[in-house]
């Protein structure tokens, strides 16, 4: 799999118009210490991923480093989880871990402005993931 930057950006442009293939489609999110099932869980936290993806598209529009790569943002999110102490667990444990990270972001003033909404950097990154996931071509 070797998509160009143009492919990624084109996908993001269509973000939100994509029909989701379900949590299992998010197989690109792999990083050391973060397994495939947890990848699915992470995006499954976003029950309406299409709505989240629209937030993500707006955020990615201002963060070209992540908008130009399929891999950079997933790696960043996975590393943040692991660095925060994530050692695996079920979806409820993951939800609690994400909540901790989000609160830590707000405490550290790591806040992003998306359409006026003040969201944490990690929330923005998760929405960015949802957008990437939605826009990524599904290869047979």
């Amino acid at each position: 799999m070797n998509q160009s930057r143009r492919d990624v950006l084109a996908g993001i442009g269509a973000c939100g118009a994509v029909t989701f293939a379900g949590a299992g489609a998010a197989t690109f999110l792999l990083a050391p210490g973060f397994d495939r099932a947890e990848v699915s869980n992470l995006l499954a936290l976003l029950a309406d991923r299409q709505a989240a993806a629209k937030i993500g598209a707006a955020w990615l529009g201002r963060h070209s480093a992540y908008a130009g790569s399929w891999d950079a943002l997933p790696k960043l999110v996975a590393e943040r989880l692991v660095q925060s102490g994530w050692r695996g667990g079920n979806i409820d444990a993951l939800r609690a871990q994400v909540a901790d990270i989000v609160r830590a972001d707000f405490a550290a003033n790591a806040i992003e402005d998306v359409d006026g909404w003040r969201i944490s950097r990690f929330q923005a990154q998760l929405c960015g993931l949802a957008c990437l996931d939605a826009s990524r071509p599904r290869l047979a």
């Binding site: 709505a51 937030i55 909540a99 405490a107 909404w117």
Partner: protein, 509 residues
């Protein structure tokens, strides 16, 4: 006893111990404090018992800066502006009285502790019930837990829950009319306008008041002591009009009368939207007044004193109320996608089933600014008096602080984890006209200061340099705080009544 000033023959000279000019919250409170006292009190009111267009027109004037409705923002009849009062009551906080080096011209010559006993009495005057003591206003989290349930449990100390307590709202003129009518030592002159407060040749003592009515008769009052209680704009106007001995106006030797006008900016609409993971996350006593015993209270959010000191900001109060489900019909079309996405982020953390959008409205603390002022216009009213000219432009620093406080609100909700904030009020280089509303709170034009070069009245509310002239009302506020002024007006007036009684005992009245 009520007397219609229009029936007083021209040339009449009346004598009294205490003349009170204006029968609003301050004037009526002061008169009541002297019921059955040995001193004779004359309460002088421009209007009658009801709104009269010709009398109300005496309030018309000019404005520069903000297009301000001088005639609609106050009422000129018995009861004064309590006749359209909203009933919001809350004492100023200790920090509001302090000199804060980040707020120019801040600092009262008295403290909150000086006013505490009078705030307690003021609650009775405003008929607020006894559910909250003055201490409860400061420890509102504890009071809320005991009486209503836990307040919003923010994880940081930036914002705290406090309470407004609501008057009915009390119309002072209706509520206390009978008391005034039957008080043997009080004469209330209606339809009577003070044209000038005339001092002696040295301008050290008030000698007489010149009065006129719209019917054309003119008469005089000779008081031993005079209290000006005409409201935050009219107090300054009458001092400036009282210029036959001191050409710049009475008590205006330092060019301070009328300066430092303040209003609480009420931003029209919302300053922020708050998406909450569950409507129940915000208790109902934030949405609307809640009856507790004999009182009605409503929770508001305010920056904590610690936050204000740390961030060097002006204060504000924020009311919040539910508006609609996130992303639902009722939301502007353009807002729906992002609201739906925000709802997902809240579900991500709490596994709730939906999100509710709350609105947040505010009133903000003003900065005392000498260039915001009441002066005399060239145009004259039906009595031949120069009309008021109000020059008021909120400072850009007020806009900046408000925007940054909205950001801090977003941070507090985010740290809590149950809500996310959309800032609708953001920093701009200028304060757009459409972002300026007001509360009809007129403050600061005869500000209180120990030093005559810094204020018009001293810590007792006596006009500097004039032995027997006092001012009651919000015109004496050196700073306005972020809450409605009426309770403080009444408390200050009760304190003034005690002061006048003490000097009377010394034989001056």
């Amino acid at each position: 006893m009520f007397i219609d000033g229009r029936q007083v023959p021209s040339g009449t000279i009346l004598e009294t111990d205490i003349a009170i000019i204006g029968a609003g919250a301050a004037g009526i409170t002061l008169a009541r404090a002297f019921i059955n006292d040995q001193r004779r009190v004359m309460l002088i009111e421009s209007g009658g018992f009801d709104l009269d267009a010709e009398t109300q027109a005496l309030y018309e004037g000019e404005s520069q800066g903000v297009d301000y409705p001088l005639d609609a923002a106050r009422l000129r009849y018995f009861g004064g502006s309590t006749n359209h009062w909203g009933g919001f009551c809350r004492p100023l906080a200790e920090i509001d009285f302090e000199k804060r080096d980040w707020v120019p011209y801040s600092g009262w010559p008295i403290t909150r502790a000086d006013l505490d006993p009078y705030y307690t009495q003021a609650q009775q005057v405003a008929q607020l019930g006894r559910a909250l003591t003055i201490t409860d206003f400061d420890d509102t989290a504890g009071w809320a837990r005991r009486n209503l349930g836990s307040p919003l449990p923010f994880a940081d100390d930036s914002f705290v829950t406090r309470f407004f307590i609501y008057s009915a709202p009390l119309r002072f003129g209706e509520a206390y009319r009978d008391e005034i009518a039957h008080a043997p030592n009080i004469s209330a002159y209606l339809n009577s306008n003070v044209l000038e407060i005339v001092p002696d040749a040295a301008a050290r003592r008030v000698e007489r008041l010149r009065l006129a009515t719209l019917a054309g008769n003119e008469f005089e009052v000779r008081p031993k002591l005079c209290v000006l209680a005409g409201g935050g704009i009219e107090n300054a106007r009458l001092l400036l009009l009282s210029n036959s001995v001191q050409p710049a106006g009475l008590g205006n030797g330092n060019d301070l009368v009328g300066r430092f006008f303040m209003e609480h900016v009420h931003v029209p609409g919302q300053i922020a939207l708050i998406a909450m993971d569950d409507k129940g996350s915000i208790p109902a006593y934030y949405d609307e007044p809640k009856a507790i015993d004999d009182a009605h209270v409503r929770a508001i959010l305010m920056p904590s004193d610690a936050y204000l000191r740390r961030e060097r900001r002006l204060g504000l109060n924020i009311a919040i109320y539910p508006m609609r489900p996130a992303g639902a019909e009722g939301a502007p079309e353009a807002e729906r996608p992002s609201e739906a996405g925000i709802a997902q982020l809240l579900r991500l953390q709490s596994a709730g089933s939906g999100a509710t959008i709350f609105g947040a409205s505010c009133a903000a603390e003003p900065i005392p600014t000498p260039d915001n002022r009441v002066t005399l216009a060239a145009a004259r009213d039906a009595l031949g008096q120069n009309r008021s000219r109000l020059i008021w432009r909120p400072a850009i620093e007020e806009h900046r602080d408000l925007a940054r406080n909205v950001d801090a609100l977003g941070q507090s909700f985010g740290r809590w984890g149950r809500g996310l904030v959309k800032a609708l009020f953001t920093e701009k280089p200028d304060w757009p006209e459409d972002e300026i509303g007001w509360g009809n709170h007129h403050m600061g034009t005869t500000r209180m200061a120990t030093d005559p070069k810094q204020g018009v009245v001293d810590a007792d509310a006596r006009v500097h340099g004039i032995d027997n002239l006092y001012v009651a009302g919000s015109s004496v506020f050196p700073t306005g705080g972020p809450v409605n002024p009426t309770l403080t007006i009444v408390a200050l007036t009760l304190r003034l009544a005690d002061h006048i009684k003490s000097i009377s005992l010394a034989g001056r009245v």
